[in-house]
Symmetry: C2
Subunit: 249 residues, 2 copies
C-alpha cells in the first residue's frame, strides 16, 4: 500500500539546462520537489500552514537513479507519492518519465519535521501526514550512507560563498546549490564525457547566507566510475554524497 499519487507535466526550460543541453541534476531535483510542493498545496498542507504550527519540513537524504537526463524543451511527466512514514521519518518517491511514459529518473527521499523554535526533529504530526494517505510503519529504513573521503586521498577543491539568491522562500539554501557545488568542482572534460547514473546525497548540517563552503571531491576511475563528495563550512561537515557515472559514447 502507498499514498496518494500526484502527477504534473513539465516542459524543460533553457535556464534549467547547461551546455550539454541536459537538465542539471540540481534542477532535476528542483523539478521533482516542485511536484511535492504542488501536491502539498493541493492537499492544503502549505509551507505557510506548516510554519504557522511552528514546524518546517527538512530533507535529510536523496537517492537518485538516472537513466537519461531530460533535454532542453523536452516535455516530461513528474510523478510523486508519499510512500510511508514512521514516528520521525517520511519517505517519498519521485519519478520522471518521457512523454511516451519511459522512465528517465527516479528518486527516493527522506523528510523530517523540524521544530522551528527548538531547532530539533519533531514527531510527525497526524494533521500534516494524514492527507497524503501514506502508510504508517514501525520500520525505519536503513539507507546506505554515502561513502566518505578518507584522510590521505587525492581531492579536488573549490570554494564558494553562499549568495543572497541561494536562500529560498523557506529561508534555507535551495537544494540545487549543493548539487552545483558538487558538480562544478569536477573537471569540465569529466562532466562533458560522463553522465551521472546514481547519486546518494545526505544533508547533515544547514548552510547559511554568506557562509564560505568548501566543495571537495575524490574521483575513482576503476571498473565503476565513482566520485565521493563533501561540502564543509568553516565550522562543520554539512553534506556528503557518492555518485556513480557512465562514459558517454
Amino acid at each position: 500500500m502507498s499514498g496518494k499519487r500526484y502527477c504534473e507535466k513539465h516542459k524543460v526550460r533553457f535556464y534549467e539546462t547547461d551546455c550539454t543541453r541536459n537538465v542539471t541534476v540540481g534542477m532535476l531535483v528542483n523539478i521533482m520537489m516542485l511536484a511535492s510542493q504542488d501536491q502539498s498545496n493541493e492537499l492544503g498542507i502549505t509551507v505557510k500552514k506548516v510554519n504557522e504550527l511552528g514546524y518546517g519540513w527538512v530533507i535529510t537524504q536523496h537517492m537518485i537513479d538516472i537513466k537519461r537526463l531530460p533535454q532542453i524543451y523536452e516535455r516530461i511527466n513528474v510523478i510523486t507519492e508519499a510512500a510511508s512514514y514512521n514516528r520521525y521519518f517520511c519517505y517519498r518517491d519521485f519519478w520522471i518519465t518521457s512523454e511516451d511514459g519511459e522512465e528517465l529518473a527516479k528518486m527516493h527521499s527522506v523528510f523530517v519535521l523540524m521544530d522551528q523554535s527548538k531547532r530539533k526533529i519533531a514527531r510527525i504530526l497526524p494533521e500534516l501526514i494524514d492527507p497524503y494517505a501514506s502508510e504508517y510503519t514501525k520500520k525505519i529504513e536503513r539507507l546506505p550512507e554515502p561513502e566518505k573521503i578518507v584522510a590521505d586521498e587525492q581531492v579536488r577543491i573549490k570554494k564558494y560563498q553562499v549568495r543572497f539568491m541561494d536562500i529560498d522562500s523557506n529561508q534555507h539554501v535551495n537544494n540545487a546549490h549543493y548539487f552545483d557545488w558538487m558538480m562544478d568542482v569536477l573537471p569540465a572534460d569529466f562532466l562533458m564525457s560522463h553522465s551521472l547514473k546514481k547519486m546518494n546525497i545526505k544533508y547533515k548540517q544547514e548552510v547559511h547566507y554568506d557562509d564560505k563552503v568548501k566543495s571537495s571531491v575524490h574521483i575513482e576511475e576503476e571498473e565503476v566510475i565513482k566520485t565521493v563528495h563533501q561540502i564543509k563550512t568553516e565550522q562543520a561537515l554539512c553534506c556528503t554524497a557518492e555518485c556513480e557515472w557512465k562514459t558517454n559514447h
Copy 2:
C-alpha cells in the same frame, strides 16, 4: 507598426524566487527570454537553424522597468514582440502582466547577429528577421548608457568564478548570472529593504567558463536611490549597469 506578438502563460516556481518570495531579476529576464525563444521556435527560427547558418543572436542591452516583481506561485502572462530592426540591430519588447492583465514589468532589449567564425557583428539576414514581421527602420536607437563607476568612488566588491552550469546550451554564460553577480554584491539588508524599479544593463564582452569575475557596485542613497555596477574579468570590462530602487514600506 510593429511585429507579431507572442504570449505565453507562466506559473512562478519556487526555484525562480529568493527569500523575499519574489522572482529574482535574473529569473525575470530568463522568463522573458524564454518567451522570445518559444516565439522563434514557433516561427521556425530555432537556435539550431541560426547556428547552422553560421550565426548566433547576442544581446547587447536590456532596459527593464519593474512595477512589482511576480511572487512565488503567481500566474503571469509573458508577452513579447520584435518591434523593429535596422541593418545591424533588432529591438524587442517584453511585458509581464498579472493574471488580471495589470502590467508588472516591461523590458526593451537590443539584439545583434554575431558571425560565429569571424566573431564579428553581421548584417541582419532577411530570412532570420522576416518571419517576425517587425518594422525595418533606418533609425538607430540612441539608448542611454548606464552610468560608470568613477575612479575614486567608494565601492563594494565580490569575486566569483564562472561555473560549469553557468554556461547555457548556446555556450554562453546565461544572462541570469550577470544579474546574480550584480545583486549579490549588495548588502543583504539593502536587498531586503529595497525593490528594484529600473535597470539599464549593457553587455560589452563575453565571460567564459572558469573566468574570475569581479562584481563592483557604488551605492548612491540620495533623493533617488541608485546603484552603479560593473563586471570585470582580469582582461576586460564585460558588463555595466545602473539600477534605480525604491524603499519597501
